[in-house]
Symmetry: C2
Subunit: 412 residues, 2 copies
């Protein structure tokens, strides 16, 4: 049931304007009569709105279209370079940044290794540098850049832009937004990386047709986000989606979050690497039946990462297969939980672990089939993410764009 | 982002009317000027709407209120007996039915033991009899009864009113709504019992101030529902909330859903009873240190239910304490998962298991503190349900009422 809320003519006018913009974004180039028909608006209403948008150079005419009898209609489209969003994906391994234009197309990108994220102040200087670098690539005025949106792992207090707790970075209560705002000539926004990623994957799949998407990021850590329709489900305190820290093995290894047996501690990229390392270390350098893990790492435990364990499995290594299968089994149990409780229509598996071949998805699916409740989540389609390595950075742009749409703050 | 959706004057008029009704329900008796002020509407608009509502005898005048200067204002209120909802809670142990009036007050109730729910057709005849019995108690015309809303455990396809799968009842694909509609002179609606319960608990707590409530029903089985604001989160196929069937112990006992180690199979009322029974059965009749469970059940395993195990624990029985503590531990792990993933502001624990004294809530809270992620779900308040034994039946009425509100189908 909705709350008390008055709807007046000014709001209707704004809703109509934003619907016209949305129609132009999704279906442009398009003529005025087609917009009116699509939205159920009168032609004069659409003419009035498009006039405003033309004046603010938000849209432009690209000439006459094909006539369906009378005068050929004037075709309109969004001006792609009218404004830009900058999005950053600050991961534990890589930092990736993109710029996206007014029609959601990526127009620039940079990446560099994360390396040591301490001391925090110095690290934030580097982040600011990356933002300014990509802004420079756009060769546009700063007021056309609507903001820089940062996606990073951990619990984030959105209102204040503080990183409350990021186990991956070992951060507690870092006022990242405040520090960056002091160094950047446009607004800064902060969001959890899994949410940014989820928003982008929903966009790529055509979110307007979706009921509920649960997108999981299986990488160095494990996190997730729930998207209802095209909107992020945030939770009451902004910390939802922490599926990596559900208890998978009550007596399992200690997680870097401080708890014991978290899914992230038994099935993430970091956990797979740690288990691979201990296989290597448990075998002496000259052991007769040395595992492929030791071979691929040339005996150096520091060289063992999740990808190496996956490669060792491919080469027939039994220990590596056991580690990878156990991870898939636990991930499947966690995802069955999400299916039982959330009943999404889409379960999207993203992140580095999913880039090790289709067998891993199949293993996870098999575990889900064993553990999910019969008939629960009947509508769910399970797939891998489509966005590639820059998906989270693009998603950061969507976080910003969604926020501006919601608050009707587009420069129109 | 919202979909293309035109808002026109007819919709605005309806939104205003429903806001006036809501205002009268929450704050009535109230005068027209106060309604106008509360909703930001003009006095003539409010006068027009209240005139319609007076004509349809949906509201009535109860005379003059206290003047704040001028003419004393006329006070209006909803007519409580203008219409009714009937709600049924079909549980595995008891069937409870209530009638609720137009101002959400329970005005009648009946209950009887469920006994054998087979054969299904015969059982449904009994349900129809209960509905007609409570309708009879209302001494009103059938057209004032807006419908009968059935809450029962299991997966339900709402559109068709089919019980897809109810492990508690051993039902598969029972067209309950269709069968009942043939026997009842008003509409029939079907919903999962945990959802009905959750809606009622949210209502009792003042749902308009809530972000997200996760309400868990810990009884013979275990189920839950998520309420966002005052609306049920349903999921894509209507099966969300099945927290009882998350895998708590991969190698645990087989659950009646067919899977292994479900939370319901290790921590529900049924599971506690089963563990109590096996304690009794593992001891010979003359064993020297017989447990209190055997004593309280007078040696009869059939007499062991969850309540008996809780009583044995109270009397100092160590085996009973182990069973109960283990259930609390597993429930806490499951709820930590819900907190990590959903970040609700309210976690409400309801159902029979919670009626065994405050210690059980404390044990569950302790397990949650051990297993939830630090800083996740910072806003959550954990409490027990307030609605008592008829909460689910009242909730069934709310399911119906919400549906009529949403579709603007109140007889006004």
């Amino acid at each position: 049931m909705q709350q008390f809320r008055k709807i007046d003519k000014i709001q209707i006018a704004q809703i109509n304007k934003y619907n016209v913009i949305r129609c132009l974004m999704r279906e442009g180039p398009i003529n005025r009569a087609a917009i009116a028909k699509r939205l159920g608006l009168s032609i004069p209403t659409v003419m009035f709105i498009t006039e405003t948008l033309l004046k603010s150079t938000f849209i432009r005419s690209i000439g006459k279209g094909v006539s369906s009898g009378g005068k050929p209609p004037e075709m309109l489209e969004i001006v792609p370079e009218r404004f830009f969003y900058i999005g950053l994906d600050i991961g534990r391994t890589m930092i990736r940044a993109v710029a996206v234009n007014a029609v959601s197309r990526q127009v620039a990108c940079v990446e560099e290794p994360t390396n040591n994220p301490a001391p925090e102040k110095k690290f934030v200087d580097r982040i600011a540098g990356i933002i300014l670098k990509i802004a420079g690539q756009l060769k546009t005025e700063n007021n056309r850049i609507l903001g820089a949106s940062i996606a990073m792992p951990g619990l984030i207090e959105k209102e204040t832009g503080v990183v409350l707790f990021s186990p991956d970075f070992g951060w507690n209560n870092i006022p990242l937004q405040e520090w960056l705002t002091a160094k950047i000539p446009f607004p800064v926004l902060l969001e959890n990386a899994n949410r940014a990623l989820a928003l982008n994957e929903v966009f790529l799949m055509g979110g307007e047709n979706s009921h509920t998407t649960f997108a999981v990021n299986l990488g160095y850590g494990i996190g997730a986000a729930l998207v209802i329709g095209e909107d992020l489900y945030t939770g009451a305190s902004g910390t939802s989606g922490e599926i990596g820290h559900i208890t998978a093995l009550p007596q399992g290894p200690v997680c870097h979050c401080g708890n014991r047996g978290c899914l992230e501690a038994v099935a993430s990229g970091a956990a797979i690497a740690a288990q691979g390392k201990s296989v290597l270390e448990s075998q002496g350098p000259g052991s007769r039946k040395a595992s492929k893990i030791r071979e691929l790492a040339a005996g150096d435990p520091e060289k063992v990462d999740a990808a190496l364990v996956f490669r060792a499995r491919e080469l027939g290594d039994k220990e590596a297969a056991r580690i990878v299968n156990s991870a898939a089994e636990h991930i499947g149990i966690g995802l069955s939980m999400a299916i039982n409780v959330l009943d999404p229509d889409r379960l999207v598996l993203c992140g580095g672990l999913m880039r090790n071949g289709p067998f891993f998805l199949e293993k996870i699916k098999a575990s889900i089939e064993t553990h999910r409740m019969r008939q629960a989540g009947r509508a769910v389609i399970i797939s891998t993410g489509r966005g590639g390595e820059y998906s989270t950075a693009n998603g950061a742009c969507r976080v910003l764009s969604n926020s501006l749409w919601r608050n009707r703050q587009l420069p129109v």
